[in-house]
Symmetry: C2
Subunit: 270 residues, 2 copies
Amino acid sequence: MAEINRLSLNQITLANWSVSHAVEACVRHGIPSIALWRHKIEEAGLASCVRSVKDAGLHVSSVCRGGMFPSATAASRQKNLEDNYRAVDEAGALGADCLVLVVGGGAEVGLVDARKMVADGVAALAPYARQHGVKLGLEPLHPMYAAERSVLVTIGQALELASAYAPHEVGVVLDVFHIWWDPQVFPMIAQSQGRIYGFHVSDWLVPLPDLLLGRGMMGDGIIDNRMLRLAVDRAGYDGPIEVEIFNRVIWDTDPDQVLQQMVARFIAFV
Amino acid sequence: MAEINRLSLNQITLANWSVSHAVEACVRHGIPSIALWRHKIEEAGLASCVRSVKDAGLHVSSVCRGGMFPSATAASRQKNLEDNYRAVDEAGALGADCLVLVVGGGAEVGLVDARKMVADGVAALAPYARQHGVKLGLEPLHPMYAAERSVLVTIGQALELASAYAPHEVGVVLDVFHIWWDPQVFPMIAQSQGRIYGFHVSDWLVPLPDLLLGRGMMGDGIIDNRMLRLAVDRAGYDGPIEVEIFNRVIWDTDPDQVLQQMVARFIAFV
């Protein structure tokens, strides 16, 4: 099993809770790391979040999320880019391991242009991130999100984009929910060596109850979290492992109960 | 635009109609080909379907579907295989261009074993299909169906499996809904040259209303049907182009209205 000190709570798993409540809960349950979402950071204020995680002695595994580069006009793309600069500022202030980039989908401008705008967006963001000491983690998303969320849909494609940059500047974030189906997943994890900035676990429920809110707790679905974690370990990643679950039922459950189960499932299945 | 004489109605687009009603509708709307589903063939009886398409002068582009190989016990896998022999018989009797194989998902036995059972299933079926002059068309499905319907999720993976057989015995069926997101889609279509047994069009609606019943009419979503059709043409495929749409709203619409729109959209977008 994975060392429990690698466990990180991705805040979206308790979507109804503020940063301070999530931080207190991590302390209560012995969870050493947390990943924060930007809308929650905005709610609480960045300075307060920085204090909160520092006082609690928590490590910040990532800030979710920058990206969303494609857009129809140069002006709106510039606006997106400026929002990404703010995301870098936040990740830097929080000392996060990386800023997760969900790059954006192809619905508005088409796949071909969207891919180009993503490459251009990363190119424009990378120097700013470098100056601020923030790593950019490209997260390939499941192909069912290619229209609205991410034209990056495979590890191979994310690695190809990252390869234009130094290994400590742009890398990949591997989330089992997004990558488990890929017949190339194990060779591609191996190829990611030196560029893995994060690893996320959850499960794929059968049947999937919802495109967006259908993720399950580890052990409740078809994903072999342990085999993927071992592959990521073998590729040299020894950092935090985030539990990131979008699921309405879990959101409506008592958060302490969710965290108790999460720790137990992490031990049993990751 | 694609020649209208390449248009084929995949019967599932009019899911509420029997084979004979669908056949009559094709004649009424000048659609020269049809693809039949096995549960509809069973309803009408094979002999009656053979007469029906012959009398109408229709070409049968495919029979949907064989496959579904993975299962937990040898006995149930054998039962699946025998069902596949019947599917070959039906495709042979109807003179279909191919039997479409939706190979089955990984939920019951896990991804690794399921992939092996699929390879074994195709190996067991291929000699029987060869004897009966029926081509087996492996259809890679969208990765969101990997758990329940198909562990074959990319063209590359389907081609690799097909490559163990002669090009006129086992090939691939390319459906835009399943392949559009793939960053490798154009090189992989080119690599399919000589093994493309079918091409299916529809659209990916944004947002996708449903995992199963969310497909749209060509022109209503994000897929560039024409660009994909041109790529398939360049790879040497000049056979029927099936319109295959699983969509509750379309199923509840007057079928003649659907077919009228289908012909117009085929001309405009394929």
